[in-house]
Protein backbone atom coordinates (compact mmCIF):
# COMPACT_ATOMS: atom_id res chain seq x y z
CA UNK A 1 0.00 0.00 0.00
CA UNK A 2 1.12 3.58 -0.65
CA UNK A 3 -0.12 7.01 -1.65
CA UNK A 4 0.79 8.36 -5.08
CA UNK A 5 0.88 12.05 -5.91
CA UNK A 6 1.12 13.52 -9.40
CA UNK A 7 3.33 16.62 -9.31
CA UNK A 8 2.36 19.03 -12.05
CA UNK A 9 5.04 21.33 -13.41
CA UNK A 10 4.87 24.48 -15.51
CA UNK A 11 7.85 24.89 -17.82
CA UNK A 12 9.90 22.51 -15.70
CA UNK A 13 9.14 24.29 -12.41
CA UNK A 14 6.83 23.29 -9.60
CA UNK A 15 4.42 25.90 -8.35
CA UNK A 16 3.34 26.42 -4.77
CA UNK A 17 0.09 24.59 -5.52
CA UNK A 18 2.12 21.49 -6.40
CA UNK A 19 3.88 21.59 -3.03
CA UNK A 20 0.49 22.04 -1.36
CA UNK A 21 -0.66 18.87 -3.05
CA UNK A 22 2.48 17.02 -1.93
CA UNK A 23 2.04 18.21 1.68
CA UNK A 24 -1.60 17.12 1.53
CA UNK A 25 -0.74 13.72 0.08
CA UNK A 26 1.95 13.27 2.73
CA UNK A 27 -0.64 13.96 5.43
CA UNK A 28 -2.85 11.26 3.89
CA UNK A 29 0.08 8.84 3.76
CA UNK A 30 0.64 9.53 7.47
CA UNK A 31 -3.02 8.87 8.22
CA UNK A 32 -2.70 5.53 6.44
CA UNK A 33 0.75 4.84 7.95
CA UNK A 34 2.32 4.43 4.56
CA UNK A 35 4.79 6.08 2.18
CA UNK A 36 4.30 8.80 -0.36
CA UNK A 37 5.48 8.33 -3.93
CA UNK A 38 5.57 11.27 -6.34
CA UNK A 39 5.22 10.96 -10.11
CA UNK A 40 6.69 13.72 -12.23
CA UNK A 41 6.18 13.82 -15.99
CA UNK A 42 8.06 16.14 -18.32
CA UNK A 43 11.43 17.82 -18.20
CA UNK A 44 12.15 18.74 -14.61
CA UNK A 45 15.69 19.33 -13.34
CA UNK A 46 17.18 17.22 -10.54
CA UNK A 47 17.32 20.19 -8.12
CA UNK A 48 13.69 20.89 -8.61
CA UNK A 49 12.74 17.21 -8.09
CA UNK A 50 14.82 17.17 -4.91
CA UNK A 51 12.51 19.75 -3.34
CA UNK A 52 9.67 17.20 -3.39
CA UNK A 53 11.48 15.21 -0.70
CA UNK A 54 11.25 18.16 1.64
CA UNK A 55 7.48 18.03 1.45
CA UNK A 56 7.33 14.35 2.18
CA UNK A 57 7.80 12.31 -1.01
CA UNK A 58 10.01 9.38 -0.09
CA UNK A 59 10.41 8.26 -3.71
CA UNK A 60 10.11 10.32 -6.84
CA UNK A 61 9.40 8.55 -10.12
CA UNK A 62 10.79 10.77 -12.85
CA UNK A 63 9.35 10.28 -16.31
CA UNK A 64 11.17 12.15 -18.99
CA UNK A 65 9.98 11.04 -22.40
CA UNK A 66 9.96 13.20 -25.53
CA UNK A 67 6.42 12.16 -26.34
CA UNK A 68 5.26 13.45 -22.96
CA UNK A 69 6.93 16.85 -23.11
CA UNK A 70 3.57 18.52 -23.52
CA UNK A 71 0.48 17.70 -21.51
CA UNK A 72 -1.37 14.91 -23.32
CA UNK A 73 -3.92 14.00 -20.71
CA UNK A 74 -4.82 10.58 -22.10
CA UNK A 75 -1.21 9.41 -22.04
CA UNK A 76 -0.52 11.04 -18.68
CA UNK A 77 -3.57 9.29 -17.22
CA UNK A 78 -2.29 5.94 -18.50
CA UNK A 79 1.17 6.53 -17.06
CA UNK A 80 -0.09 7.66 -13.65
CA UNK A 81 -2.59 4.79 -13.38
CA UNK A 82 0.08 2.30 -14.37
CA UNK A 83 2.44 3.67 -11.75
CA UNK A 84 -0.36 3.46 -9.18
CA UNK A 85 -1.00 -0.20 -10.07
CA UNK A 86 2.67 -1.08 -10.02
CA UNK A 87 3.31 0.62 -6.69
CA UNK A 88 0.15 -0.76 -5.15
CA UNK A 89 -1.12 2.75 -4.44
CA UNK A 90 -4.60 2.92 -2.95
CA UNK A 91 -4.88 6.68 -3.07
CA UNK A 92 -3.88 8.92 -5.98
CA UNK A 93 -3.71 12.65 -5.26
CA UNK A 94 -3.43 15.52 -7.72
CA UNK A 95 -4.25 19.20 -8.07
CA UNK A 96 -7.72 20.30 -9.08
CA UNK A 97 -6.06 22.51 -11.70
CA UNK A 98 -7.07 22.94 -15.34
CA UNK A 99 -4.85 19.99 -16.19
CA UNK A 100 -5.88 18.01 -13.13
CA UNK A 101 -9.48 18.27 -14.27
CA UNK A 102 -8.59 16.58 -17.54
CA UNK A 103 -6.62 13.90 -15.75
CA UNK A 104 -8.32 12.87 -12.51
CA UNK A 105 -11.57 11.57 -14.08
CA UNK A 106 -9.64 9.44 -16.59
CA UNK A 107 -7.47 7.97 -13.84
CA UNK A 108 -10.56 7.30 -11.72
CA UNK A 109 -12.23 5.34 -14.54
CA UNK A 110 -9.05 3.37 -15.28
CA UNK A 111 -8.61 2.40 -11.62
CA UNK A 112 -12.34 2.04 -10.94
CA UNK A 113 -11.70 4.51 -8.18
CA UNK A 114 -14.14 6.89 -6.53
CA UNK A 115 -13.10 10.47 -7.27
CA UNK A 116 -13.37 13.41 -4.89
CA UNK A 117 -12.80 16.52 -7.00
CA UNK A 118 -12.46 20.04 -5.52
CA UNK A 119 -11.36 18.57 -2.19
CA UNK A 120 -10.74 21.08 0.59
CA UNK A 121 -9.79 18.91 3.55
CA UNK A 122 -8.05 15.75 4.63
CA UNK A 123 -10.03 12.51 4.45
CA UNK A 124 -11.81 11.32 7.55
CA UNK A 125 -11.21 7.62 8.21
CA UNK A 126 -13.53 7.09 11.16
CA UNK A 127 -15.81 4.02 11.26
CA UNK A 128 -13.90 2.32 8.47
CA UNK A 129 -15.15 4.81 5.94
CA UNK A 130 -13.23 7.28 3.78
CA UNK A 131 -14.94 10.65 3.44
CA UNK A 132 -13.66 13.87 1.91
CA UNK A 133 -15.09 17.39 2.02
CA UNK A 134 -15.42 19.22 -1.29
CA UNK A 135 -16.97 22.43 -2.53
CA UNK A 136 -20.37 22.11 -4.21
CA UNK A 137 -23.04 24.32 -5.72
CA UNK A 138 -20.33 26.60 -7.09
CA UNK A 139 -18.95 27.51 -3.72
CA UNK A 140 -22.36 28.07 -2.13
CA UNK A 141 -22.00 24.87 -0.11
CA UNK A 142 -19.76 21.95 0.84
CA UNK A 143 -20.48 18.28 0.34
CA UNK A 144 -19.07 15.34 2.25
CA UNK A 145 -18.46 12.49 -0.19
CA UNK A 146 -17.70 8.93 0.75
CA UNK A 147 -15.36 6.98 -1.51
CA UNK A 148 -16.32 3.34 -1.07
CA UNK A 149 -14.11 1.87 -3.80
CA UNK A 150 -10.85 0.06 -2.99
CA UNK A 151 -8.88 2.75 -4.84
CA UNK A 152 -9.45 6.47 -4.45
CA UNK A 153 -8.55 9.58 -6.41
CA UNK A 154 -8.55 13.03 -4.79
CA UNK A 155 -8.13 16.35 -6.61
CA UNK A 156 -7.23 19.12 -4.16
CA UNK A 157 -8.37 22.71 -4.63
CA UNK A 158 -5.64 25.36 -4.63
CA UNK A 159 -5.00 27.25 -1.36
CA UNK A 160 -6.73 24.62 0.75
CA UNK A 161 -3.84 22.90 2.46
CA UNK A 162 -0.88 24.39 4.34
CA UNK A 163 2.60 23.66 3.11
CA UNK A 164 4.58 21.54 5.55
CA UNK A 165 8.27 20.90 5.28
CA UNK A 166 9.87 17.90 6.93
CA UNK A 167 13.50 17.02 7.37
CA UNK A 168 13.71 14.32 4.74
CA UNK A 169 15.01 13.54 1.30
CA UNK A 170 13.33 11.76 -1.53
CA UNK A 171 14.98 9.16 -3.73
CA UNK A 172 14.72 10.02 -7.43
CA UNK A 173 14.21 7.08 -9.77
CA UNK A 174 14.03 7.19 -13.55
CA UNK A 175 10.81 5.54 -14.65
CA UNK A 176 10.07 4.42 -18.18
CA UNK A 177 6.39 3.75 -18.71
CA UNK A 178 4.74 2.03 -21.63
CA UNK A 179 3.12 4.52 -23.94
CA UNK A 180 0.50 3.48 -26.45
CA UNK A 181 0.29 5.32 -29.77
CA UNK A 182 -3.47 5.51 -29.32
CA UNK A 183 -2.94 7.64 -26.21
CA UNK A 184 -1.13 10.28 -28.25
CA UNK A 185 -3.96 11.39 -30.51
CA UNK A 186 -3.90 15.02 -29.48
CA UNK A 187 -1.03 17.28 -30.48
CA UNK A 188 -0.22 20.31 -28.39
CA UNK A 189 0.96 22.80 -31.00
CA UNK A 190 1.67 25.77 -28.75
CA UNK A 191 1.67 26.77 -25.08
CA UNK A 192 1.38 30.42 -24.12
CA UNK A 193 2.01 31.38 -20.53
CA UNK A 194 2.04 34.90 -19.15
CA UNK A 195 4.98 34.33 -16.83
CA UNK A 196 4.99 37.89 -15.49
CA UNK A 197 1.46 37.55 -14.14
CA UNK A 198 0.12 35.62 -11.18
CA UNK A 199 -2.44 33.04 -12.31
CA UNK A 200 -5.81 33.79 -10.75
CA UNK A 201 -6.76 30.27 -9.57
CA UNK A 202 -3.57 29.95 -7.48
CA UNK A 203 -3.34 33.55 -6.32
CA UNK A 204 -3.08 34.28 -2.59
CA UNK A 205 -4.07 37.90 -3.06
CA UNK A 206 -6.67 39.10 -5.56
CA UNK A 207 -7.81 42.59 -6.54
CA UNK A 208 -11.10 42.44 -8.39
CA UNK A 209 -13.25 45.12 -9.95
CA UNK A 210 -16.73 45.43 -11.41
CA UNK A 211 -18.96 47.66 -13.44
CA UNK A 212 -18.40 50.44 -10.90
CA UNK A 213 -15.14 51.19 -12.71
CA UNK A 214 -17.17 52.49 -15.67
CA UNK A 215 -14.85 51.40 -18.46
CA UNK A 216 -11.72 49.42 -19.40
CA UNK A 217 -9.65 52.59 -19.59
CA UNK A 218 -9.95 52.92 -15.81
CA UNK A 219 -8.31 49.61 -14.91
CA UNK A 220 -4.92 51.21 -14.31
CA UNK A 221 -5.82 51.94 -10.67
CA UNK A 222 -6.72 48.26 -10.19
CA UNK A 223 -3.54 47.05 -11.84
CA UNK A 224 -1.45 49.46 -9.77
CA UNK A 225 -2.97 48.21 -6.54
CA UNK A 226 -2.50 44.60 -7.64
CA UNK A 227 1.10 45.26 -8.52
CA UNK A 228 1.82 46.99 -5.22
CA UNK A 229 0.39 43.98 -3.36
CA UNK A 230 1.75 41.30 -5.68
CA UNK A 231 -1.84 40.24 -6.37
CA UNK A 232 -3.68 38.79 -9.35
CA UNK A 233 -6.44 40.81 -10.99
CA UNK A 234 -10.02 39.61 -11.43
CA UNK A 235 -13.40 41.00 -12.45
CA UNK A 236 -17.16 40.46 -12.37
CA UNK A 237 -19.02 38.78 -15.23
CA UNK A 238 -20.52 41.87 -16.91
CA UNK A 239 -17.02 43.31 -17.11
CA UNK A 240 -15.66 40.34 -19.06
CA UNK A 241 -18.88 40.01 -21.07
CA UNK A 242 -18.41 43.61 -22.22
CA UNK A 243 -14.85 42.77 -23.22
CA UNK A 244 -13.34 45.20 -20.71
CA UNK A 245 -11.25 42.35 -19.30
CA UNK A 246 -10.41 38.83 -20.55
CA UNK A 247 -12.77 35.94 -19.71
CA UNK A 248 -10.17 34.17 -17.62
CA UNK A 249 -10.43 36.97 -15.02
CA UNK A 250 -14.16 36.43 -14.51
CA UNK A 251 -14.87 35.23 -10.99
CA UNK A 252 -18.10 33.68 -9.75
CA UNK A 253 -20.54 30.86 -10.14
CA UNK A 254 -20.07 30.76 -13.92
CA UNK A 255 -16.42 31.78 -13.81
CA UNK A 256 -13.47 30.91 -11.66
CA UNK A 257 -13.95 30.10 -8.00
CA UNK A 258 -11.09 31.55 -6.01
CA UNK A 259 -10.00 31.03 -2.41
CA UNK A 260 -7.25 33.57 -1.78
CA UNK A 261 -6.13 34.89 1.59
CA UNK A 262 -7.30 38.34 0.54
CA UNK A 263 -9.99 39.33 -1.97
CA UNK A 264 -10.43 43.08 -2.55
CA UNK A 265 -13.66 43.86 -4.41
CA UNK A 266 -13.90 47.31 -5.97
CA UNK A 267 -17.13 48.57 -7.52
CA UNK A 268 -18.76 45.14 -7.43
CA UNK A 269 -22.29 44.98 -6.05
CA UNK A 270 -22.08 41.45 -4.64
CA UNK A 271 -24.69 39.51 -6.62
CA UNK A 272 -25.27 35.95 -5.39
CA UNK A 273 -23.53 34.53 -8.49
CA UNK A 274 -20.44 36.60 -7.84
CA UNK A 275 -20.33 35.77 -4.12
CA UNK A 276 -20.48 32.05 -4.91
CA UNK A 277 -17.03 32.25 -6.45
CA UNK A 278 -15.37 34.19 -3.63
CA UNK A 279 -17.01 32.93 -0.44
CA UNK A 280 -14.06 30.77 0.55
CA UNK A 281 -11.67 33.71 0.54
CA UNK A 282 -10.09 34.11 3.96
CA UNK A 283 -10.48 37.89 4.16
CA UNK A 284 -12.72 40.09 2.02
CA UNK A 285 -12.35 43.86 1.60
CA UNK A 286 -15.13 45.75 -0.17
CA UNK A 287 -14.83 49.23 -1.64
CA UNK A 288 -18.13 50.56 -2.97
CA UNK A 289 -19.78 53.97 -3.09
CA UNK A 290 -23.16 52.50 -2.18
CA UNK A 291 -23.45 51.71 1.57
CA UNK A 292 -26.35 49.35 0.72
CA UNK A 293 -24.28 47.19 -1.66
CA UNK A 294 -24.93 43.54 -0.67
CA UNK A 295 -21.20 42.77 -0.80
CA UNK A 296 -20.70 44.57 2.54
CA UNK A 297 -22.77 41.84 4.24
CA UNK A 298 -20.10 39.23 3.53
CA UNK A 299 -17.07 41.50 3.90
CA UNK A 300 -14.55 41.61 6.73
CA UNK A 301 -13.52 45.21 6.03
CA UNK A 302 -15.47 47.82 4.10
CA UNK A 303 -14.98 51.33 2.84
CA UNK A 304 -17.92 53.32 1.50
CA UNK A 305 -16.37 55.63 -1.04
CA UNK A 306 -15.50 56.43 -4.62
CA UNK A 307 -13.15 53.86 -6.12
CA UNK A 308 -11.30 56.52 -8.06
CA UNK A 309 -10.43 58.25 -4.82
CA UNK A 310 -9.96 55.29 -2.45
CA UNK A 311 -8.02 52.84 -4.62
CA UNK A 312 -5.07 55.14 -5.45
CA UNK A 313 -4.83 56.04 -1.75
CA UNK A 314 -4.85 52.40 -0.79
CA UNK A 315 -2.11 51.72 -3.34
CA UNK A 316 0.00 54.45 -1.75
CA UNK A 317 -0.64 53.01 1.71
CA UNK A 318 0.41 49.54 0.53
CA UNK A 319 3.57 50.93 -1.03
CA UNK A 320 4.41 52.82 2.16
CA UNK A 321 3.83 49.67 4.22
CA UNK A 322 6.00 47.57 1.87
CA UNK A 323 8.86 50.05 1.96
CA UNK A 324 8.91 49.89 5.76
CA UNK A 325 8.67 46.16 6.19
Amino acid sequence: MSVLVYVENAEGKFKKSTFEVVSYAKAIADLLSTDLIAVSIGTVAQDELNVLGKYGASRILNISDDRLKTFVNQAYATVISEAAEKEGADVVVLANSFSGKGLAPRIAVKLKAGLADSAIGLPNLENNSFTVRKTAFSGKAFALVELSSAKKVIALNPNSHQLKEIAAEGKIEAYQPEIKESDLRIKVTDVVRATDKIALPDAELVVSAGRGLKGPENWKIIEDLAEALGAATACSKPVSDAGWRPHEEHVGQTGIAVSPNLYIAVGISGAIQHLAGVSSSKTIVVINKDPEAPFFKVADYGIVGDAFEVVPKLTEAVKAYKSHS
Partner: protein, 245 residues
Protein backbone atom coordinates in the same frame (compact mmCIF):
# COMPACT_ATOMS: atom_id res chain seq x y z
CA UNK B 1 -20.95 14.73 -39.01
CA UNK B 2 -22.81 13.61 -35.89
CA UNK B 3 -22.54 15.80 -32.80
CA UNK B 4 -23.70 14.83 -29.32
CA UNK B 5 -24.17 17.51 -26.64
CA UNK B 6 -24.53 16.50 -22.99
CA UNK B 7 -26.87 18.72 -21.02
CA UNK B 8 -27.52 18.90 -17.31
CA UNK B 9 -30.43 20.33 -15.37
CA UNK B 10 -29.28 22.56 -12.51
CA UNK B 11 -30.72 24.99 -9.93
CA UNK B 12 -31.04 28.52 -11.26
CA UNK B 13 -27.99 30.64 -10.40
CA UNK B 14 -30.00 32.87 -8.05
CA UNK B 15 -30.99 29.90 -5.88
CA UNK B 16 -30.17 30.17 -2.22
CA UNK B 17 -28.83 26.72 -1.42
CA UNK B 18 -30.38 25.06 1.66
CA UNK B 19 -30.54 21.48 2.93
CA UNK B 20 -32.87 19.22 4.86
CA UNK B 21 -32.67 19.49 8.65
CA UNK B 22 -30.34 16.48 8.85
CA UNK B 23 -28.22 18.04 6.07
CA UNK B 24 -28.38 14.99 3.84
CA UNK B 25 -30.64 16.34 1.07
CA UNK B 26 -30.62 19.44 -1.05
CA UNK B 27 -33.93 21.32 -0.58
CA UNK B 28 -35.50 21.38 -4.02
CA UNK B 29 -38.77 23.00 -2.89
CA UNK B 30 -39.35 26.19 -4.83
CA UNK B 31 -36.12 25.80 -6.78
CA UNK B 32 -36.26 26.76 -10.43
CA UNK B 33 -34.20 24.47 -12.67
CA UNK B 34 -32.36 25.62 -15.78
CA UNK B 35 -30.19 24.30 -18.57
CA UNK B 36 -26.63 24.46 -17.18
CA UNK B 37 -25.11 27.78 -18.44
CA UNK B 38 -21.95 26.11 -19.82
CA UNK B 39 -24.03 23.54 -21.68
CA UNK B 40 -25.75 26.42 -23.48
CA UNK B 41 -22.33 27.40 -24.80
CA UNK B 42 -21.56 23.83 -25.92
CA UNK B 43 -24.95 23.57 -27.60
CA UNK B 44 -24.55 26.93 -29.35
CA UNK B 45 -21.20 25.85 -30.84
CA UNK B 46 -22.63 22.50 -31.93
CA UNK B 47 -25.45 24.28 -33.74
CA UNK B 48 -23.03 26.70 -35.40
CA UNK B 49 -20.91 23.78 -36.60
CA UNK B 50 -23.97 22.03 -38.00
CA UNK B 51 -25.15 25.03 -39.99
CA UNK B 52 -25.72 24.32 -43.63
CA UNK B 53 -27.30 21.01 -42.74
CA UNK B 54 -24.09 19.02 -42.91
CA UNK B 55 -24.37 17.74 -39.37
CA UNK B 56 -26.93 16.67 -36.84
CA UNK B 57 -27.00 17.72 -33.21
CA UNK B 58 -28.38 15.31 -30.62
CA UNK B 59 -28.69 16.32 -26.98
CA UNK B 60 -28.47 13.74 -24.24
CA UNK B 61 -29.46 14.06 -20.62
CA UNK B 62 -29.33 11.59 -17.76
CA UNK B 63 -32.18 12.43 -15.46
CA UNK B 64 -35.75 11.94 -14.44
CA UNK B 65 -38.83 13.11 -16.33
CA UNK B 66 -38.91 16.32 -14.27
CA UNK B 67 -36.01 17.61 -16.37
CA UNK B 68 -37.92 17.45 -19.66
CA UNK B 69 -38.43 21.25 -19.79
CA UNK B 70 -34.65 21.63 -19.92
CA UNK B 71 -34.40 19.10 -22.75
CA UNK B 72 -37.19 20.88 -24.64
CA UNK B 73 -35.31 24.13 -24.19
CA UNK B 74 -32.24 22.57 -25.82
CA UNK B 75 -34.44 21.45 -28.71
CA UNK B 76 -35.94 24.94 -28.95
CA UNK B 77 -32.45 26.42 -29.17
CA UNK B 78 -31.85 24.22 -32.19
CA UNK B 79 -30.84 20.62 -31.42
CA UNK B 80 -32.35 18.12 -33.89
CA UNK B 81 -33.32 15.41 -31.45
CA UNK B 82 -32.90 14.39 -27.83
CA UNK B 83 -32.28 11.36 -25.67
CA UNK B 84 -33.06 11.05 -22.00
CA UNK B 85 -31.60 8.22 -19.99
CA UNK B 86 -34.22 7.71 -17.36
CA UNK B 87 -32.39 7.63 -14.01
CA UNK B 88 -31.44 9.86 -11.13
CA UNK B 89 -27.99 11.25 -12.07
CA UNK B 90 -26.39 10.04 -8.86
CA UNK B 91 -22.77 10.90 -9.73
CA UNK B 92 -20.45 11.70 -12.64
CA UNK B 93 -19.24 8.09 -13.01
CA UNK B 94 -22.80 6.85 -13.41
CA UNK B 95 -23.80 9.69 -15.78
CA UNK B 96 -20.67 9.32 -17.93
CA UNK B 97 -21.13 5.57 -18.23
CA UNK B 98 -24.71 5.98 -19.46
CA UNK B 99 -23.71 8.57 -22.05
CA UNK B 100 -20.72 6.51 -23.18
CA UNK B 101 -22.91 3.42 -23.62
CA UNK B 102 -25.34 5.40 -25.76
CA UNK B 103 -22.52 6.97 -27.80
CA UNK B 104 -20.93 3.54 -28.39
CA UNK B 105 -23.95 2.21 -30.12
CA UNK B 106 -24.70 5.39 -32.07
CA UNK B 107 -21.27 6.57 -33.24
CA UNK B 108 -20.62 10.30 -32.82
CA UNK B 109 -17.75 12.30 -34.32
CA UNK B 110 -17.84 15.04 -31.75
CA UNK B 111 -19.18 15.08 -28.19
CA UNK B 112 -19.43 18.35 -26.29
CA UNK B 113 -20.18 19.02 -22.64
CA UNK B 114 -20.13 22.10 -20.45
CA UNK B 115 -17.03 22.89 -18.46
CA UNK B 116 -18.80 21.92 -15.26
CA UNK B 117 -22.29 21.54 -13.89
CA UNK B 118 -22.98 24.42 -11.53
CA UNK B 119 -24.43 22.11 -8.86
CA UNK B 120 -21.82 19.38 -8.43
CA UNK B 121 -19.01 21.25 -10.23
CA UNK B 122 -17.14 18.07 -10.84
CA UNK B 123 -15.70 18.88 -14.25
CA UNK B 124 -15.63 15.11 -14.46
CA UNK B 125 -18.12 14.01 -17.07
CA UNK B 126 -16.22 14.86 -20.28
CA UNK B 127 -12.97 13.16 -19.32
CA UNK B 128 -14.82 10.13 -17.91
CA UNK B 129 -16.77 9.67 -21.14
CA UNK B 130 -13.49 10.04 -23.03
CA UNK B 131 -12.00 7.25 -20.94
CA UNK B 132 -15.01 4.95 -21.26
CA UNK B 133 -14.93 5.42 -25.06
CA UNK B 134 -11.12 5.45 -25.28
CA UNK B 135 -11.14 8.72 -27.25
CA UNK B 136 -9.26 11.98 -26.58
CA UNK B 137 -10.87 14.36 -24.10
CA UNK B 138 -9.96 18.02 -23.88
CA UNK B 139 -11.09 19.87 -20.78
CA UNK B 140 -12.10 23.53 -20.48
CA UNK B 141 -11.79 24.70 -24.04
CA UNK B 142 -12.22 28.31 -25.12
CA UNK B 143 -12.18 27.95 -28.90
CA UNK B 144 -13.07 25.16 -31.28
CA UNK B 145 -12.67 25.28 -35.05
CA UNK B 146 -12.74 22.42 -37.49
CA UNK B 147 -12.20 21.78 -41.19
CA UNK B 148 -14.30 18.64 -41.05
CA UNK B 149 -11.40 16.30 -40.26
CA UNK B 150 -9.00 18.02 -37.98
CA UNK B 151 -9.96 20.46 -35.22
CA UNK B 152 -7.97 23.27 -33.65
CA UNK B 153 -8.72 23.92 -30.04
CA UNK B 154 -7.63 26.49 -27.51
CA UNK B 155 -7.65 25.27 -23.94
CA UNK B 156 -7.26 27.27 -20.77
CA UNK B 157 -4.35 26.59 -18.40
CA UNK B 158 -3.25 28.48 -15.28
CA UNK B 159 -2.19 31.90 -16.50
CA UNK B 160 -2.22 31.01 -20.16
CA UNK B 161 -3.49 28.84 -22.95
CA UNK B 162 -2.61 25.76 -24.92
CA UNK B 163 -3.31 25.15 -28.63
CA UNK B 164 -4.27 21.64 -29.61
CA UNK B 165 -4.87 19.75 -32.84
CA UNK B 166 -6.99 16.62 -32.82
CA UNK B 167 -8.92 14.47 -35.28
CA UNK B 168 -12.46 13.16 -34.79
CA UNK B 169 -13.76 11.49 -32.76
CA UNK B 170 -13.09 13.37 -29.54
CA UNK B 171 -14.89 14.96 -26.60
CA UNK B 172 -14.39 18.47 -25.22
CA UNK B 173 -15.83 20.45 -22.32
CA UNK B 174 -16.73 24.03 -23.21
CA UNK B 175 -16.16 27.25 -21.28
CA UNK B 176 -16.86 30.88 -22.15
CA UNK B 177 -15.44 31.97 -25.47
CA UNK B 178 -16.43 28.86 -27.43
CA UNK B 179 -19.73 30.45 -28.53
CA UNK B 180 -22.38 32.91 -27.41
CA UNK B 181 -25.44 31.18 -25.94
CA UNK B 182 -28.44 31.24 -28.30
CA UNK B 183 -31.88 32.40 -27.27
CA UNK B 184 -34.67 30.24 -28.68
CA UNK B 185 -36.97 31.99 -31.13
CA UNK B 186 -40.71 31.39 -31.56
CA UNK B 187 -40.23 28.92 -34.39
CA UNK B 188 -37.74 26.99 -32.31
CA UNK B 189 -40.09 26.85 -29.35
CA UNK B 190 -42.97 25.61 -31.54
CA UNK B 191 -40.89 22.97 -33.30
CA UNK B 192 -39.31 21.75 -30.04
CA UNK B 193 -42.64 20.21 -29.07
CA UNK B 194 -42.59 17.81 -31.98
CA UNK B 195 -38.88 17.03 -32.24
CA UNK B 196 -38.03 13.42 -31.29
CA UNK B 197 -37.21 12.76 -27.62
CA UNK B 198 -36.23 9.19 -26.98
CA UNK B 199 -36.35 7.81 -23.43
CA UNK B 200 -34.02 4.92 -22.63
CA UNK B 201 -33.46 2.94 -19.47
CA UNK B 202 -30.17 3.20 -17.58
CA UNK B 203 -27.64 0.38 -17.31
CA UNK B 204 -26.23 -0.86 -14.04
CA UNK B 205 -22.78 0.15 -12.89
CA UNK B 206 -21.05 -0.15 -9.51
CA UNK B 207 -21.32 2.73 -7.08
CA UNK B 208 -17.97 4.25 -6.08
CA UNK B 209 -18.95 7.47 -4.36
CA UNK B 210 -21.90 8.68 -2.33
CA UNK B 211 -22.86 12.12 -1.10
CA UNK B 212 -23.20 11.78 2.67
CA UNK B 213 -24.05 15.27 3.85
CA UNK B 214 -23.85 18.97 3.05
CA UNK B 215 -22.99 22.15 4.84
CA UNK B 216 -22.85 25.85 4.05
CA UNK B 217 -19.94 28.23 4.65
CA UNK B 218 -19.79 29.61 8.19
CA UNK B 219 -21.13 33.16 8.30
CA UNK B 220 -18.44 35.81 8.58
CA UNK B 221 -18.12 38.01 11.63
CA UNK B 222 -19.55 41.49 11.22
CA UNK B 223 -17.88 43.85 8.80
CA UNK B 224 -15.49 46.48 10.13
CA UNK B 225 -16.23 49.77 8.35
CA UNK B 226 -13.53 52.35 7.68
CA UNK B 227 -13.67 55.78 6.08
CA UNK B 228 -12.06 56.64 2.72
CA UNK B 229 -9.29 58.41 4.66
CA UNK B 230 -8.37 55.30 6.61
CA UNK B 231 -6.54 53.36 3.89
CA UNK B 232 -3.38 53.24 6.01
CA UNK B 233 -5.36 51.80 8.87
CA UNK B 234 -6.80 49.19 6.52
CA UNK B 235 -3.32 48.10 5.47
CA UNK B 236 -2.35 47.95 9.14
CA UNK B 237 -5.39 45.79 9.97
CA UNK B 238 -4.72 43.47 7.04
CA UNK B 239 -1.27 42.96 8.47
CA UNK B 240 -1.86 42.75 12.21
CA UNK B 241 -5.44 41.52 12.51
CA UNK B 242 -6.27 39.55 9.36
CA UNK B 243 -2.60 38.56 8.88
CA UNK B 244 -2.99 38.27 5.13
CA UNK B 245 -0.24 40.65 4.05
Amino acid sequence: MKILVCVSNVPDTTTKITFSSDNTQFNTAGVQYILNPYDEIALARAIELSEGGKSTVTVIHVGESSSEPTIRKALAIGADDAVRINAFPRDAYFVSFQIAEYAKSNGFDLILTGRESIDYNGSQVAAMIGEFLDIPSISIIKKLNTDGNSSSIEREIEGGKEMIKVDFPFIASCAEGVAEPKIPNMRGIMSARTKPLQVLEAKEIEKLVSFKSYSTPAPRGSVKMLTPDETEKLVELLHTEAKVI
